[in-house]
């Protein structure tokens, strides 16, 4: 059986990829995708811990479903914002969106 630590390493790698995407990418959609990656890394952690340590109840699975639902809503709102910004300013580059900057 695959040991728990492998899952954790995979999830940590996935999270690192996501955080790099958020910090380094200029495209707002790519940033959003980075956030999704991080969320899924967390989901992976949750499922792994659940399976290996608390498999006699369903808390971990339910929690993952909650996270998925929230992530879906977040993406919906985020994409809507990005589309709206794109329509007004014809760009999705995060550092160009600086209306509130001094």
């Amino acid at each position: 059986m695959v040991p728990l630590s492998w899952y954790l390493i995979l999830a940590a790698a996935l999270f690192a990829v996501g955080i790099f995407g958020v910090l380094a990418r200029r495209n707002a959609i790519a940033i959003l995708m980075g956030i999704e990656l991080m969320l899924n890394a967390v989901n992976l952690n949750l499922l792994a811990f659940w399976r290996y340590l608390w498999s006699d109840n369903l808390t971990g699975v339910v929690f993952v479903i909650m996270v998925l639902a929230v992530a879906a809503a977040e993406v919906a709102v985020g994409l809507a914002l990005i589309i709206s910004i794109y329509r007004r300013r014809s760009t999705v580059v995060a550092e160009d969106i600086d209306l509130l900057k001094w």
């Binding site: 910090l23 995060a94 550092e95 209306l99 900057k101």
Partner: protein, 706 residues
């Protein structure tokens, strides 16, 4: 009962004054109804007091209440009804009632208001007086003051009433304030009487400091206090008693109020007021109040003196001023052409008789003349008002522009104004002392008899001469006004006044004839056998010691009759054929006549002696020196100092410290914000990095350091 009534007597006119001023002043009808109604109530109350006093009621009646607590004791005020109060109430109530009713007709009530009339000017074409309601308010206040002065039991309230009257006379003399002459007269009357009032107040203060009371019963009817005052040397030094000094100070008050020489100048000018006011001031109220005061303090004047002894200094002064004024004013009256000014000087002269009588110690004679004078002088004033009214109407009809007061434009009015003529004739004969039938004969004769009987021959001669002049100017006035032929179109067109004016005349004429019969001296042939000398017995009872009545003497009587008839005859003969425009027969006197016409230049003298130096003093010292330099200088100095202090506070404290610290806070925050804003890049990834660094630092801290 009398106690309560005596309190109520002065109040209705005061109430009427308040009501007219506050509520009724829009309605002429309501105003005169209130004024006359209140006077009628006061009159009825006064009569009930008088009747109960003369019908043998216990006198004096006095009541008092605590008014002003002064430490352990209290200053009491109250009412005091003694024979003198009773007779004064009698003539005051009657004459005032007559004047109130007369005012209705005098101010043309019933006629529409003339659109050309303006407030402050007399109505010039028979329209109703524009300030009708105001007039009734003023005379109501006046009546209140006089009645309060009469019924009070102490000198302080007397002084209050005295001053209110002074103020009312100021308002009423200047009632037609649009006329410059009326304005000047009102100020003159007020200022001149004020000179006397100051001395009166000094006398009050001195009396109070010596006795601690101003109540009549505790001073005037207290032989012990009088004795003490008479023997205490006054502040002026030994030889003058405190009683004499106080009496003298009070007497100066009377000199001002009763217009005696040398403070007489205000009274003739006071003729600027409406005629009912002249009657009010010169017959019913104000000048009578002056005489009432010296009659009231008679025990103080005569303190330490017994009847028959030589007169003390203060009484000599009073007698001298009285007698001198009587002759002096009578001599002025003969040269006046203004019908009211003749009466004004005649008033001064008659008041001089009373003052002289008081100075000789003839209390009853003075009081008697005061009563008769009030009636016949009110009658004469109101009669002259009726004449002026008639002539004014005549002048309006004939279109002439003449002075309606000027007697040289009159003549022949007996046919046009019969009722006014007969009543005026009665008043005039009473003033002249026409024998037997008129009241003035009895009262004036009593003063002359007193002067003769007590061996004051100088006074007797002076007063007899004054009586001669009195009869002369009275007849001159009557002849010029009523007899002969009209000397102007206005006089031809004159007509009789309304009943509201003539009815009071008739009433006063009745009193002028009959009132003297109450004082027929004992021993007078025939008459005294069936008419007792009521005045002497009744009024004489005011004093502590009964007054001796003089032996009847025929010489003063004959002199009195001779001068009265002689004066009347000469007056008639000289003026009966005066043509229009002809010079006054007196002009033959030359310089003397000029002097008389100019009132012996007393106004000019006072102007030179007092008015102009005062103006100069006011201008030079008070205005330029005191006001401009000292007072303004102080003010400017204080203002400059305050300005400098303010400048220091502003520039050294407020701006740098208070404002500086306030600004520092604001500017500091602003600068910090300006400098610190660079961290707000607006790039969400930059924030995220900061967040991650902090989260990492936090986690490191938790895992590795704790």
């Amino acid at each position: 009962m009398i106690e309560i009534i005596s309190w109520l007597i002065p109040l209705p006119p005061l109430l009427a004054f308040g009501l007219i001023v506050l509520f009724a002043n829009r309605s002429n009808r309501a105003s005169h109804t209130l004024g006359i109604g209140a006077m009628l109530i006061s009159w009825a109350l006064a009569m009930s007091v008088f009747i109960s006093a003369v019908s043998g009621g216990e006198l004096p009646v006095s009541t008092e209440v605590e008014w002003l607590p002064t430490g352990d004791t209290a200053f009491n005020i109250g009412t005091w009804i003694d024979p003198l109060t009773a007779v004064t109430l009698f003539f005051v109530a009657w004459t005032m009632l007559a004047i109130f009713v007369y005012s209705v007709g005098y101010h043309n009530y019933g006629n529409a208001r003339d659109p050309d009339d303006r407030p402050g000017f007399p109505p010039h074409a028979g329209g109703i007086e524009p300030m009708y309601a105001r007039f009734f308010a003023f005379i109501s206040l006046f009546a209140f003051a006089m009645l309060a002065l009469v019924v009070t039991d102490n000198l302080l309230v007397l002084f209050v009433g005295w001053e209110i009257m002074g103020f009312c006379s100021y308002l009423l003399i200047g009632f037609w304030y649009g006329k410059d002459s009326a304005k000047a007269a009102m100020v003159k009357a007020f200022m001149t009487t004020r000179v006397g009032d100051v001395f009166l107040l000094l006398g009050l203060a001195y009396l109070y400091s010596l006795t601690g009371t101003l109540t009549y019963s505790e001073i005037l009817l207290n032989a012990e206090t009088l004795e003490r005052l008479a023997t205490t040397p006054s502040v002026l030094g030994p030889g003058t008693s405190a009683a004499a000094l106080i009496a003298l100070l009070f007497f100066i008050g009377t000199v001002g109020k009763a217009a005696q020489w040398p403070l007489h100048t205000w009274l003739p000018d006071a003729m600027e007021g409406p005629t009912p006011v002249s009657a009010m001031i010169h017959a019913a109220a104000m000048v009578s109040a002056g005489i009432y005061l010296i009659l009231r303090i008679f025990p103080l004047i005569t303190a330490g003196w017994r009847h028959g002894e030589p007169l003390p200094d203060v009484m000599v002064i009073i007698a001298f001023i009285g007698a001198f004024t009587a002759l002096f004013a009578a001599s002025l009256a003969i040269g006046q052409n203004d019908i009211k000014r003749v009466l004004a000087y005649s008033t001064i002269s008659q008041l001089g008789y009373m003052v002289a009588a008081v100075g000789m110690g003839a209390f009853v004679a003075a009081a008697f003349h005061l009563i008769t004078h009030a009636f016949f002088k009110a009658l004469l004033f109101l009669g002259s008002g009726s004449v002026i009214h008639g002539v004014e109407h005549g002048a309006h009809e004939s279109g002439e522009h003449i002075d309606p007061n000027d007697m040289t434009h009159m003549g022949g009015l007996r046919k046009k104004m019969p009722l006014t003529f007969w009543t005026f004739l009665i008043g005039g004969l009473t003033l002249a002392g026409f024998p037997i039938v008129t009241a003035g004969f009895w009262s004036k004769d009593e003063i002359l008899a007193e002067a003769y009987g007590t061996n004051h021959l100088a006074i007797f001669v002076v007063l007899a001469l004054a009586a001669l002049l009195t009869a002369f100017y009275t007849m001159r006035q009557i002849t010029l006004t009523f007899l002969g032929e009209p000397r102007s179109k206005a006089a031809e067109h004159a007509h009789e006044s309304k009943w509201t004016m003539t009815a009071p005349l008739a009433m006063l004429a009745l009193f002028s004839l009959t009132i003297g019969w109450a004082g027929i001296p004992k021993g007078f042939p025939v008459l005294s056998s069936f008419i007792p000398n009521w005045v002497h017995e009744f009024v004489g009872a005011t004093l502590l010691e009964p007054v001796e009545s003089l032996e009847f003497n025929v010489i003063p009587l004959l002199v009195s009759v001779a001068v009265a008839l002689g004066g009347l005859l000469v007056g008639y003969l000289m003026y009966r054929r005066l043509e229009a425009g002809a010079p006054d027969p007196l002009a033959r006197l030359g310089r003397v006549y000029v002097w008389i016409q100019n009132k012996y230049y007393f106004d000019e003298l006072y102007d030179f002696l007092f008015v102009r130096p005062l103006y100069w003093f006011a201008e030079t010292f008070v205005y330029r020196g005191l006001d401009r330099r000292v007072i303004d200088g102080t003010l400017h100095g204080v203002a400059g100092l305050a300005g400098r202090l303010g400048g220091f506070l502003r520039n050294k404290i407020d701006l740098p410290i208070v404002n500086g610290s306030g600004d520092l806070v604001g500017e500091g925050i602003k600068t910090a914000g300006f400098e610190g804003r660079v961290i707000q890049t607006g790039r969400v990834q930059a924030y995220l990095i900061v967040g991650i660094i902090f989260a990492g630092a936090m986690l490191s801290y938790i895992f590795f350091l704790s």
